[in-house]
Amino acid sequence: MRVMAQMGMVMNLDKCIGCHTCSVTCKQAWTNRSGVEYVWFNNVETRPGQGYPRRYQDQERWRGGWVRNRRGRLQLKAGGRFRKLITIFANPVLPNIRDYYEPWTYDYETLTDAPLGDDFPVARPKSLISGEPLAVEWSANWDDDLGGAPEHGPHDPIVERIRAESEEKVKFDYERAFMFFLPRICEHCLNPSCVASCPSGAMYKRAEDGIVLVDQDRCRGWRMCVTGCPYKKVYFNHRTGKAEKCTFCYPRVEVGLPTVCSETCVGRLRYLGLFLYDADRVTAAASVADERDLYAAQLDLLLDPHDPEVIAAARRDGIAEDWLEHARRSPVYRLAKEYRVALPLHPEFRTMPMVWYIPPLSPVVDRLVETGHDGESAPNLFGAIEALRIPVEYLAELFTAGDPAPVTDVLRKLAAMRSFMRDVTLGREIDESIPTAVGMDAGQILEMYRLLALAKYDERYVIPTAYEGEARNLEEVGCSLDVEGGPGMGGTGPFGEASGRPVPVSVETFHALRVRQTTEGLADPESPGARINLLNWDGKGRPPGLFPPPREAPVEPGDVTARGSDPERSAGAPTLEDRR
């Protein structure tokens, strides 16, 4: 047994309202740069739907993840090492940017520059890739909230699979549609196929916390990781020519803060914490013969942090005492292993993903309520879970490689909690048979209820900080992307975008502050948006740059009011005054 620690996340899908706040804040924090305009480290997709990038789950097309070969060993679905090197000059299964979407902006200038007239000016969409006008036909959330579902929904790979098994079960008629949201980040897998696909060895799994990262200095842009990841959560920055991915906000996590997506989640549906797992058994667990056993195999890897044997082994393997303490309080371990209500996304990809999902009960409850039934009565709910096959089968394809039993178990537990807690809240007599029916006891149900419904910030995010002894190193947490002239920093080095050597953040800040506080002149006299430091102005006179330079335009003869700079007038167009 070799104990390793892994940061993990659980998302409670019942609470997701699809507001995309996680996506937006993540984008602002990490991918608001040129080259990654199309990249969403965190995205929220509507299920059923095609997802982002389009139909990424269809591994017969994209060939991500692992497969078990005839000898029972794991191999990359896109081909082994030799095949990777042979196809390195043109990766045959790399998604095109249009499979994500072609990023665009709008021609906002026409809104302000259009001449006065009867028609409203329109800002036309323009591609951010080529600069050409663009017809917007797809984006990361084109089928949000089942928009266009009759057209797009049938192309959901899971819907296709379910339909192949039993025709016409998933309907997209408005009245019969079911829907839920699936927020996705990088899974930070225990058996990451992106890392295994990287020819230069630039991608790695951090030994301390299991976060999967790309070393930007060693990435050579061979693009194999994009293919390797079955979740398509490694992206190619088309300006820097390097791969980028969700970092699990490691600079935040290292100092004990939750990831940006968790911190800003409106529904408070995300849980962060530690898993302890047995690294020696990962490969064996990922190569079990039957896909449907993968969920159980993955659960089996997770070690009980209360077990004295595990604790002793963890100490031997160099896991610090406060990390063990955090592992014992981990909400994600409780949800995934103790209560068994969290499931991994697509275990059949054999990557052992470490972002877990509590499947939504709401489609079932909604159907009950709509049809006039009591949506909080345990027998009703249990019956409905059995009867409403479509949501269960769909969820099973997502979370358990098509095995409905674990999904049903989870939904029954959630239903039991709902029903049991109604009795508690209304002060009725408690029905002990409800928890028993799902293999739990009243105490467990109450604990689970507390964690799912009430848990505060420090119960949802149990994050061990880096050790005290290492705290010194955190003074200058270098972000591998914060490079002078690097992505988002503007400017280009001699070898194109983002070349050059990083400058420590504190040095940069020190100089910027000093310049701002002491300069007397303009910050950048060449720029039309130049600014002057008003703190150094004594209020007398007009230092150069206080006002923008007068625009020079030909003054028409006879225009004594010297409004020659008004383009409307010089163009001879009628103005308001003329009309008066």
Binding site: R81, F82, K84, L85, F89, A90, P92, N96, I97, S127, I129, S130, E132, N191, V195, C198, P199, S200, G201, Y204, K205, R206, A207, E208, D215, Q216, D217, R218, R220, G221, W222, R223, F236, H238, R239, T240, G241, K242, E254, A466, R472, N473, E476, V477, G478, C479, S480, V483, G486, G493, P494, F495, G496, A498, G500, R501, P502, V503, V507, H511
Partner: protein, 244 residues
């Protein structure tokens, strides 16, 4: 043996090597972040999937051909029972085909680069000048091969260029031998030297990090946080302020 001959075939090769080695080391130290293929496959893959393998595999064969032709003395192949004529025929066939493939490949790639909007706008001036030198070297090289067939140029480069090339490594350049080679060989060699001199300063550097190690490493790479460049051991005193 004129002064020009000494400069071109006695001095320039060493200058070229110095620029190549020092430039590569400097680039690697200064600009690891810019060391990439700068792939544009995300924008366009239909033409790339034909042009890129054609060019790269063609180029690999061309490089192997150069290594064989320049490093293995004619006496060795003759001793192995391969007559100079037979050698010439097979070298011509293989080199001609490979060179042609390379040229067609880069032709497709340049056409794609010019006509696909996003790819064109991602092309830097550095790229454009590199393409000029690269294509010139390819064309000149193919021309020498073809001229060898027509027989207009005096001959067998294995009696003129190759001895000179090998003599460079023992620091006793056989300038006279190279000076006696034909004009086509001179031009091709000069362009080649220019290509190697600009190599470290272009996107061509990606060739130096061809990921052969991938064949031998374990699939999943673990790395400790402390070993990464993000938290290199702190130096004593204040961080040195770079001139800005």
């Amino acid at each position: 043996m004129s002064t020009w001959d000494v400069l071109l075939w006695g001095v320039l090769p060493y200058v070229m090597v110095a620029v190549l080695v020092v430039g590569t080391i400097w680039r690697y130290r200064y600009d690891k972040f810019g060391w990439t293929t700068r792939s544009s496959e995300l924008y366009e893959s239909r033409l790339l999937r034909i042009g890129s393998p054609l060019f790269h595999f063609g180029l690999l064969v061309v490089i192997i051909g150069h290594v064989i032709g320049l490093l293995i003395p004619q006496s060795w192949t003759s001793a192995a029972g391969l007559s100079p004529t037979a050698y010439h025929v097979q070298a011509l066939a293989l080199g001609g085909i490979a060179g042609f493939c390379t040229l067609v490949g880069i032709g497709i790639l340049i056409y794609r680069r010019r006509t696909t909007g996003p790819v064109f706008s991602a092309t830097t001036r550095n790229d454009k000048s590199m393409y000029v030198v690269l294509v010139a070297a390819l064309v000149a090289g193919l021309a020498t091969t073809l001229l060898g067939v027509v027989g207009g140029e005096s001959g067998n480069y294995r009696e003129s260029v190759s001895p000179w090339f090998r003599s460079l490594f023992v620091l006793q350049p056989d300038i006279a031998s190279m000076a006696g080679a034909g004009l086509a060989f001179h031009i091709h060699t000069l362009i080649g030297m220019v290509l190697f001199a600009i190599w470290p300063f272009t996107r061509l550097v990606h060739a130096f990090t061809a990921p052969l190690g991938y064949l031998f490493r374990p699939y999943v790479v673990y790395r400790s946080r402390t070993a990464g460049p993000a938290t290199r051991p702190p130096r004593r005193g204040w961080e040195k302020v770079t001139g800005r």
